[in-house]
């Protein structure tokens, strides 16, 4: 079993059945779910953007609301992916035993876990896109370069879905997820350049934030939304992709050890 727990993931197109199951459930409540997902980031973006922004001339070479909009696209993607794999994913894995039922059919755990990650990335993608659409409607998007934010958001969603799923695989109960939000998600919100430039941090912290995925998502999305080509595109994408792949693999190994014993 030990060797098998670490085996290379084996996927099949059946992971789409898992994705589709979740999307069918989501469709039943799509509108309230989208509004609920949007409300929180919108309040922060508009409240701080216009309220706080009125007192600031420019942040990072742009109006504060535009600065914040790019950060909010990324942070709402992070939030949405994390919530989905942790709270909803834990329900399906542990409480409702939905995964168990699926694995009695010819679908393997590898398919289930990848299906869940891709689903969470898709759902968080919609959250990111909704914020992008609002930002665009408010005239906070400068050029068609912003279309490149679309793939960035999807990769960001994959990275945070994988990371959250590691917690799900560990978790004995819903309470456990609070630690992750308090110790990982909220700090990232604050230090990765969502609300203020990373350059405002003390030097050692600036270096540390380079290891965090949200930093790289923001450093791609912000220039793209403001009509500029980001620097170090390959590096930022590589970090996000590395987080996505590594966290998925770790989550899969942990889930195999939890469920296939």
């Amino acid at each position: 079993m030990t060797a098998k727990a670490y085996a290379v993931p084996a996927f099949s197109p059946r992971l789409l059945h898992v994705w589709r199951r979740n999307s069918l459930v989501w469709r039943k409540l799509a509108i309230p779910s989208m509004l609920g997902n949007l409300a929180d980031p919108m309040l922060y973006m508009l409240g701080l953007g216009y309220g706080l922004g009125a007192m600031l001339s420019e942040v990072g070479g742009m109006p504060y609301i535009a600065f914040l909009a790019a950060g909010t696209v990324c942070s709402s993607t992070m939030m949405s992916a994390s919530f989905e794999v942790m709270y909803s994913g834990f329900s399906r894995m542990h409480v409702q035993k939905t995964w168990e039922a699926i694995m009695n059919a010819p679908v393997t755990l590898d398919d289930v876990v990848l299906g869940e990650v891709v689903w969470a990335a898709s759902k968080s993608f919609l959250s990111g896109m909704a914020v992008l659409a609002v930002a665009s409607a408010l005239g906070l998007v400068q050029s068609a370069l912003a279309l490149w934010v679309i793939p960035v958001v999807f990769v960001t969603g994959l990275a945070f879905a994988g990371m959250g799923l590691i917690m799900t695989a560990f978790s004995p109960s819903y309470d456990f997820f609070m630690y992750y939000f308090t110790l990982v998600v909220t700090p990232m919100m604050l230090v990765c350049g969502v609300f203020f430039p990373v350059s405002q941090l003390p030097a050692p912290f600036q270096v540390a934030t380079q290891a965090l995925p949200l930093t790289h998502a923001v450093e791609l999305a912000r220039p793209l939304m403001n009509g500029a080509v980001p620097g170090d595109i390959a590096l930022h994408l590589a970090v996000l992709a590395a987080y996505a792949v590594a966290s998925f693999y770790i989550a899969l190994v942990l889930t195999r050890r939890r469920l296939l014993k």
Binding site: M1, K4, R14, H17, R20, R21, L24, V25, K28, Q96, K97, T98, E100, A101, I102, M103, N104, A105, P106, V107, T108, L260, K261
Partner: protein, 303 residues
């Protein structure tokens, strides 16, 4: 070809060997019962047969396919009714069947075509649009059984299918399982209800501490392992009666709490003696599978 063939199967968790070298064979169209107290290794055996966990030794063949190597293919042709309900609470009754069919690769139209007959089989035609939370325990079980049939399986695994159901609901499940057997399905049933096994199973095996300690047809097992008649004696003086008379006039005499069980080939003298004696209630009955089970696995609690 046998629908299930298990030989020398072993599974160990840490120090404990949960499945300690068992052999099983299921012939097409038969109902096979795996009996055992809690913790005997029944559910582990089932999970091994489905290829969800890997054995530490031995071989498994489901519908001619080696498991776990080709477990996914084998699961295309099997149905599973798990011990705990895991119906999808986010869907209605009908959607549960539809979505589950998709996991087997059924096209929407194919699944839709099968659903009315399955709902009727489950007695849930009128509840197609109901939410799962509104169903009774018996309805959920029947829906789980219908769900296990969505891929028209040849072999159906049921893990304690009637645990927690009221008598009416249990009888209905049994009736449905008989229908499936009449249709030629092969059924593998785990249970700790002796009456269930006695009613349904053509053959059964009693499992304890990872080993199969007896197997055969229910009647054969009773004839082979136990005296044909039982006299149960209840009441305050039962223990004294057993020491003074019962033990001497029966082949075996056991006490559980306040109750004495006398096993014998001829109960006439026991019954006659008890009739003379006021204050002791008794029951004279033929031996059943439960007596065999308790004799082989002991009377102490298993938690």
């Amino acid at each position: 070809m046998n629908h299930l063939r298990v030989s020398g199967l072993r599974k160990r968790y840490g120090e404990q060997e949960v499945v300690a070298g068992i052999d099983l064979e299921l012939r097409p169209g038969e109902c096979f019962g795996l009996l055992g107290p809690n913790g005997a290794g029944k559910t582990t055996t089932l999970r091994l047969c489905l290829g969800l966990i890997d054995p530490d030794g031995g071989e498994i063949e489901v519908l001619g396919l080696p498991v776990p190597a080709r477990a996914r293919e084998a699961r295309r042709r099997t149905g599973v009714v798990p011990q705990a309900d895991n119906l999808d609470p986010d869907f209605t009754v009908e959607e549960n069947l539809l979505v589950y069919g998709r996991y087997f690769g059924l096209r929407q139209a194919e699944a839709r075509a099968r659903i009315p007959a399955l709902l009727e089989f489950a007695g849930l035609s009128a509840r197609a649009a109901s939410r799962i939370q509104t169903l009774s325990g018996g309805m959920k079980r029947r829906l789980t059984l219908a769900r296990a049939l969505i891929n028209d399986p040849d072999l159906i695994f049921l893990d304690e299918p009637t645990t927690g159901l009221d008598p009416q609901a249990r009888h209905l499940i049994w009736e449905r399982l008989r229908q499936l057997l009449n249709q030629g399905k092969t059924v593998f049933l785990t249970t700790h209800f002796m009456d269930e096994a006695e009613r349904l199973a053509h053959r059964l095996a009693i499992m304890d501490r990872g080993r199969i300690i007896a197997h055969g047809a229910p009647r054969e097992l009773i004839a082979k392992h136990i005296e044909p008649q039982v006299v149960e004696v209840y009441g305050d003086g039962a223990g004294r009666w057993a020491r003074e008379f019962g033990q001497a006039h029966s082949e075996r005499c056991e006490q559980t709490g306040e109750t004495i069980f006398c096993y014998t080939h001829d109960a006439d003298s026991l019954v006659h003696h008890l009739d003379q004696r006021s204050g002791l209630r008794y029951l004279h009955r033929p031996a059943n599978l439960e007596d065999v089970f308790l004799k082989l696995t002991g009377r102490e609690l298993r938690d």
